[in-house]
């Protein structure tokens, strides 16, 4: 598999929108074909080549280098292949992706994997708000896929998610899993407040304790066997240091909620 290397040579002055960076759009294009792809630099139409030096023709394996924290929408609608980002990346990475993998060796901005339906996003650093969330007004969020953040993530992780698996290696902000319809969120670190507010179904698990809303009721402390599947998958995907045997074997406090809604969701907090 040949690699397409995109190296940032001119950092954008204002946000750069590059939804064209995905294996499907680049596929079959020559270096100059790729450099001629249109991007939006603020309100100005520009070419990818104005910002990136391209090496190799378009294939399914794309490498990006440089500080892309002001570059938005990389991997939009991606369905196959792999994008590796050596550095930080801006908002909306992997928006609407349905397959393939995005690997970020740095931090990601807000809105990682919005409207995702499949594939995987791995962020080795921290992520911003709304990891795997629905856009505003949308009643259902991501419908599949996996998002693994090794570091911290902020508020509204998995807002309204309908299916899929989100894992945070560090801490989470407030409203983790808010309005969740189903799916699984695991936070290895501390969660902020109001976890699971409005959730109908789904699982939010944490390896730490967390404050609970008054509408979540404690059920029992038990060993949720199914959770092992998720924890094992995390161990196999770079969380081995964080997910330990005690977490696989241990007991969790189960809270069910949200009492205001269906009350079929659960928050599992590692007990011992």
């Amino acid at each position: 598999m040949s690699t397409t290397l995109l190296k940032l040579h001119t950092p954008p002055q204002v946000p750069l929108e590059t939804e064209v960076i995905s294996p499907t759009s680049l596929s079959g294009l020559s270096e100059s074909g790729i450099e001629h792809l249109q991007v939006m630099h603020g309100n100005v139409k520009a070419k990818l080549g104005d910002f990136f030096k391209v090496t190799g023709k378009g294939g399914s394996d794309i490498h990006l280098e440089g500080d892309l924290s002001n570059v938005k929408m990389i991997g939009t609608g991606m369905s196959t292949g792999k994008i590796t980002i050596d550095g930080d990346v801006g908002m909306h990475v992997g928006m609407g992706m349905s397959g393939g993998e995005i690997l970020v060796h740095g931090d990601a901005g807000d809105w990682v994997g919005p409207e995702m339906s499949g594939g995987r996003i791995v962020v080795k650093g921290n992520a911003g708000h709304m990891v795997g969330s629905a856009y505003r007004g949308q009643p259902a969020g991501i419908s599949g896929g996996e998002i693994f953040i090794y570091g911290n993530a902020k508020n509204e992780i998995g807002n309204s998610m309908r299916r899929g698996f989100i894992a945070i290696g560090g801490n989470a902000g407030d409203f983790t899993g808010v309005n969740m319809l189903a799916g699984t969120i695991i936070v290895a670190g501390e969660m902020g407040i109001r976890t699971g507010a409005g959730m109908k179904r789904g699982t939010i698990a944490s390896l730490q304790s967390a404050p609970m809303l008054p509408t979540f009721e404690y059920s029992c402390t038990y060993h949720p066997l199914f959770l092992r599947f998720y924890l094992i998958r995390l161990q196999e995907n770079g969380f081995r240091r964080i997910i330990q045997d005690k977490h696989l074997n241990g007991k969790y406090k189960r809270y069910s909620g949200d009492g205001i809604e269906l009350n079929r969701g659960e928050v599992l907090l590692f007990a011992r």
């Binding site: 204002v14 603020g42 407030d174 409203f175 309005n179 109001r194 509408t215 009721e217 205001i260």
Partner: protein, 452 residues
Amino acid sequence: MVEATQTKSKESKNIKIVKDATCTFCGCVCDDMELTVDLDEHRITKAKKACVLGRAWFYEHTIDDRPVVLIDGKEATLEEGIETAAQVLVDAKFPITYGLSDSTCEAQRVAVEIMDIINGSIDTTTSVCHGPSGMAFQGVGESTATLGEIKNRADLVIYWGGNPAESHPRHFTKYAVTPKGMYIPNGKKDRTVVLVDVRRTPSTPLADIFVLIKPGKDFEVLWALRALVKGKKISENIEKDTGVSREVLDDLVSRMKNAQYGVLFFGMGLTMTRGRHFNSGAILSLASDLNEFTHFVAKPVRGHGNVTGADNVVSWQTGYPFGVNFNRGFPRFNPGEFTTTDVFSRGEADAAMIIASDPASNFPKKAIEHMKKIPIISLDAKDTCTSKIAKVRFAVATYGINTGGTVYRMDDVPISLRPAFDSPFPSDQEVLEGIRNRVKELLKGDKARLAA
């Protein structure tokens, strides 16, 4: 206030009375003012029916002796100001227009148009006021009413996280608490007033029931109320967590369910604290839930004069209420991405037009630091921290005092203004129209920018 008393000593024969004028200081937009205008002195000497804020609003708007336009601090003509402003906007790659809560809808419409033409962003003070309530609305909807309906019918009035006595003084007396209404013949006697807040304020004495809540616990209390209204269980630790006892909650729930027509007014105690849009969403949902049992509405108590108009204008022109970006030749909406605080704090905007607001004094430090690095165009009736750092500063007439136009009350009722006296300054609408026309000329032939 000092100046108002100083000018009082002068007398003039050229007096005009403006009846049923409208005060645009706060979102109450009271339209029953009787203004006494000294036309020689260019000032309002008396504002009958105005509250303390309204009086300050009317008395303080005199005609200052200051240049219409400053460019880089130097006096310039209106045409030069418009030219420079248009150049700044056209040259920018990520320009944003912000403010507009103290402008007429007519001016707001032109402001949106300019951003549409140059593919910029438009945001209003809504984003740092009840923007989160707007986002909550997009999630859950709302049950609401015009203020007259509340005057006529509401027998249970709950204020949550607000202090109308100081922020909207006539909210109590003109609309929601003391006035007599169609089915509220005895005014306040026929209503139960509940106040929920983290501290006692000058609003507190008016309440029949005051609920003191721990700071930052509004969501938890609202959530508990929603559960109780639906007959669901809540945690036994509720009092420990929130400062509100189960008895108080049960009493509130029973009052709400048994009211004939209930209203929940809420303030920025919800939108500006942790939880933001979810806090607003919780209270909107509570009101909706209560409609299973009785008639119930909820209303944000909105701030500046025409911030509601700004929401309406931006919505009808773009489909979204605030934080709208036109970079790609069509409107996009994403709070946190295209809202002003964020585009400043992240250092994204490369030019800004600030209309009738003062982000340089009330935005976070990091945002203000960025503002100082980019060209700012400011339009304001007063000098502010923002106008001080502006590249182009327009002094404009005050809406409602010097200019007519349309404003929307906090309940979306549109009202036409009755100006009291002329100003030598142009209205913001006129300045904006000048900028719009010039921008159009500058972009002529630039098909790439004109078409998406």
